[in-house]
Symmetry: D3
Subunit: 206 residues, 6 copies
C-alpha cells in the first residue's frame, strides 16, 4: 500500500504518527511524507530541512515532499493549499492518509486539516493524529507501537533543534511523546499506543 | 479470529452487520451471535427462534446464544444484562464485538448498547452498527459488502414474520436494507456498504 | 411566501431540496434559486447554465440568480460572498432560506454555508440540506416528498452532464437521490422524505 | 390536530410550553396534558392537583391525565413509565408531542424524556422544551408567544404554591419565565418566544 | 493580575463581560480592552470611538487598544489579525483573556474568536463570552454580577448610538442585557450572572 | 471551604483528584471523601477499607463517609443513591464537589456521576475528574499539582492491593497516574496537572 502522512511543519508527523508509519514501512509498504511548510518560524530553514530528512530516514520513508508554503501564513491560503495537496495525491495515489486533527490552537494546523479533508475526498482511508496543540481529541482508533517506540523517539530526536522547544520549562518533546504513548496506550488497554480519529476508514476482511 | 455480534432482538444483527459477518465467516473466522431477548413482542417466540437460527445458518455463524431476557423489558435490568454478557465474553473470548448503537428510540436497544460498553471493556475491538430506530448515527468505519449483499438479503428474508413489520406502509425491511447499503455506500464512495462507529478499534499493520 | 434556495454549484439544490421546493411552488409560493458558482470545473459553463435553467423550470422556480464566483475557488473569498448573498436577500426578502450543510468535504460547500449563516442572520427561517459530500448530517426536520418524487428526479435528470459524475462506478445521481429519499424517509417513518437541520425555524400556529 | 404535552410534575408544562399550547388551543386544536407524577415532594398533593387543573383551564386544555408515578422516584421505573405513556398515546393519537429536554439535573426529568423518546417512536412530531433545571439547551425551533404571554403568566400563577419555590432568593417562576421568553425571543429575533429542540418535526407545505 | 478583554466591535465586550471586568477593576486588577475594529458599519467612527472610551472609563479599564481592522471585513484576514493580537499579548502579558465565543452568525465574531485561540495559545486562562448573535452557547462558568449590575448597564448605555440597534422592534440592548443576566443567573442559581465557556482555566488554590 | 470528593470505589478519588484535594487540605480547607461502594469486587472489603482510610490520611481529609452500596451493582439503584448523596450534601454543605465523569465504560461510574448531577443540583461548584475507564474526556479546567505530585503518588500507593490491577500487563496505577499528570500538564502548558470538566463553576473575584 501507499501511505501518505501530511504535516504542517517538520516534526508534526513524527509526534503524531511516526510509530504507525515505521510499522507500515517495516512491513514493506511505501511511506511518503508531505510537509506543507518548512517551519521557518521555529528555526533555520536549512536545519529544519535536514532534520526532517533524517527523521524520514529513521521512519523508513520512501520520499519526502515539500508544499512550499510559509510557516504561520497558511490560514488565508486554504484554496491554494488544497490544490497543492490534490496534486500530490494524484501523484502518490495513497491508500491511507494521515494528517493532524482539525481542532487545534495553531492556525496552520486547522488550515492543513481542512485542506486535506477537501483534497482527499476520494481517498479511501483518512485518519487524524494529535500533536501537543491539539484540542478535544478523543481517539477511538489505536495502533500498538510497543515494538517501534524507541525508533519513534529516534525520529523525534532527529529534530534536535526542536527537542526543547515545547514552551513548557524542562519538558522535552521526548517526554511529551512518552506520556502521550502511555496515556493513549491505557485507553487502548496496552502499554504504548498512538491514537487516531477516523474521517473515513475501511475494514478489509480477509 | 472470534467475532461476536450482539442484538437486542432477532433480526437486529442481520439488519446492522450481516454483510460484515458473512465476510468474516467466508474467510474462516468464527462468528457467534448473542440475542438478548427472543423478540416475543414482535411475534411467536417459537417462530422467531427458528427464523433467527435460519438466518445464522445463512450468515455461516458457528453458534447462537440466547440471553433469556424479555423483549421490551430490558430497561431497568441493565446490571443483570451486563453480567450475562460478561459470561458470554469470557466463554467466547471475542477479538471483535459488534452491537447496535446507543442513540436509539427503542429502550431495549439503549440498554443493550450500554451493557456491552461495560461488559466488553477489556475486549480489543468494539463496533456499533445501526438499525432503523437508530438516531444520529454518523459512521466513519465502512465495510464493502458488494460481494455478499444478496446473502445479506437472504439472511434478512429468513426473518419472514418480520419482513413487512416496519411501521411504514408498503416498505419491507429488504427495501430498508437496500437503501441503507446504498446510502452508506455513497458515504464510503462505493456502491454497497455497512457503516459503523467504533468504540475502540485497533489497526493491525502487517 | 418567498423561498430562496442557495447552492454552491448547479445541481446541489436539486439533490438537497428539490422535492420541498416543488411542493412550495405547487402551493403558489415564490421559489428563487441562487447559484454561487457556475460549476465550471464539472463541465462546460454554457451547458451547466442551461441544465440549471431547465431544472429550475421543472421545479417551478420564479427566477434564478447567479453569484458569479469561480467553482473550487470560493474558500478564501468568504467576505465577498457574504456581501453578494446579503444583496440578494435584500432584494428577494425570503421567508425561508435553504442552503447546504456546513460539514462537508468540499471547500466550496463549507464556505457557502458559513456565508449564508452570516448573510441570513435576520432571516426568519434558515434550513440546511444535504448532498453526497456532506458529513455528519443527522436531520430532525422532514418533508414528505412522496407526491413530487418523480418530478424531483426529472429536475435532477435535467443536469444530464452530471448524472454519472458521482465518482462511484455505475452509480448515478438518480440512484443516490432514490436511496437518500428512502433512507431519510425511514427516519421520518414514511416512504420518501427530504431531511433538514434547522439553523432557525419558526412554527406558525394557525 | 391533537397536541399532547407531557410533564414530570405539575408546572413543568406551563414553564416549558404554555404559550405554544395556548396558541394551539386558541386555533381550535385539542390540547391534552399528561402529568407523570403529582409533584408530592413540592407540596400537598391535593393542592398541586387543583393548581394543575386550574392551569389547564387557563391554557384551554381539553383534558388532563395523570400517570400516577411518585415524585423523585421515577428514575428506576423507566420501563413501566414507557408503557403508561404508550397507552395514552394510543388513546389520544397525538399529532404533536411536547416533553421536557433530556439533559437536566433532575432525575425525574431525564427519565420522562427518555420514556417519551421510546413511547412516541411512531408519533410524527416530537419536540423538547426547557425548564430551569435543563442543561445545555440550544433551541433552534421557535414559537412567537407575544400575543399570549400574559396568559402564559396566568397559567404559571395558577401554581401558586410553587411560584416562589425557585431555590433562588427573591426570584419567582414568573420572573424566570419572563427572562426566558425574552432570552429565547432575542435568539429568534422577536421580543417573546418559546424555544424548542426537535426530536422529529415535519414541515407541512400548503 | 492583568486582564485583557477582546471584542470585534465597540459594545461587544460590554455586553459579554462588563460585569466581570468591573469586579476585577474594583479589586485592583488591571483591565485592558482591545477592539479589533471601530464598528464603522454601525455608526460614525468618531462617535463609536468616544462611546467605547466612555464605557471603558465606567468599567475602570486601565487602557484601550484598537486593532485597526475594518468592520465586516475581518473574515479573510485571520492571519494578520492573529499577528496583531499576538503583539498586544506580548505587550500586556495578560493572566486572563476574555473574547466572544466561536459559534456566531457574524463573520467578524467567528474570525476574532479563532484568532484569539491561536494568538493566546500560551496564555494561562482564556474564556469565551456571549453576545446576542452567539449560537449554541452553554456556559458552565459563572460570575455573580449582582453587585455591579447597574454599573454594567451604565457601561452599555455609554454606547448610546447602539442602544436601540438590536434588529428587534422596541427591544434595547439594555433589555437584552437584563434578560441575559437573569437567564444565566438562573442557570447558576443566583439572581444575576455572566456565563462563560472556558477554553482553558486554572483553579488557583490558596 | 468544604470540599467533597465522591468516588464509586476506593482509589477512584485518588486517581482523579488527589493532587487537588491535597492542595485544598494544605491551605486549611476541609476535605471530605464519600465512597459509594467498598470495592468488594476488587479485593477484601477489610483491606480496601483500610487502604482508603490510609489514603485519606495522606490527602489530609477531615473525614471519610461510606455510601454502603455494592460494587458493580449500582446501575439500577440510581434513585436510592441520589437520596444517600443528598443526605451527605445536607450534612457537609460543600462549596465544591468533585466526582468522576459521566462517559465511562464502568456502569458504576456512570451511575454515580448521574446521581451526583441530581443530588448536587443546588451546590455551587461541581467538577468532573477522570479515571482510566473514562471515555471522551476533554478537560478545560486545570490544577497545577507539581508541588504535591509525590504526595498524590503516596496516596495511590496506599491502595497497595490495587496498584498492579490495571488490566494492562506490567503497568501500575502509579505509571498511569504519572502519564496522565504529564499529559494533562502539557494541555495546560505546565509539567504536571489534573484536568477537570466543570458541570458548574463560579469564578470568585477578589
Amino acid at each position: 500500500m501507499n501511505i501518505l502522512a501530511i504535516g504542517p511543519h517538520p516534526d508534526d508527523i513524527e509526534i503524531g504518527c511516526a510509530g504507525t508509519l515505521i510499522k507500515y514501512a517495516q512491513r514493506g509498504h511505501s511511506v511518503f511524507l508531505l510537509l506543507i511548510s518548512k517551519g521557518e518560524m521555529g528555526g533555520e530553514t536549512e536545519v529544519r530541512y535536514k532534520e526532517q530528512m533524517n527523521a524520514a530516514d529513521i521512519i523508513g520513508a520512501k520520499d519526502v515532499f515539500w508544499g512550499g508554503f510559509r510557516d504561520t501564513e497558511l490560514l488565508d491560503q486554504g484554496n491554494e493549499i488544497i490544490h497543492t495537496i490534490e496534486a500530490y495525491i494524484k501523484k502518490i495515489q495513497p491508500d491511507f492518509i494521515f494528517v493532524n486533527f482539525f481542532d487545534d490552537t495553531h492556525q496552520d494546523h486547522r488550515t492543513v486539516n481542512r485542506s486535506v479533508l477537501s483534497a482527499a475526498r476520494y481517498v479511501r482511508n483518512v485518519m487524524f493524529y494529535e500533536v501537543p496543540t491539539t484540542n478535544n481529541f478523543t481517539p477511538n482508533i489505536f495502533v500498538d507501537i510497543g515494538s517501534v517506540f524507541e525508533l519513534k523517539l529516534e525520529a523525534l530526536k532527529a529534530h534536535s533543534s526542536q527537542v526543547m522547544k515545547t514552551n513548557i520549562p524542562d519538558l522535552s518533546i521526548i517526554d511529551i511523546a512518552r506520556s502521550s504513548a502511555h496515556f493513549r496506550g491505557v485507553q487502548g488497554r496496552i502499554p504504548l499506543a498512538e491514537g487516531f480519529i477516523p474521517e473515513r476508514l475501511f475494514i478489509t476482511i480477509d
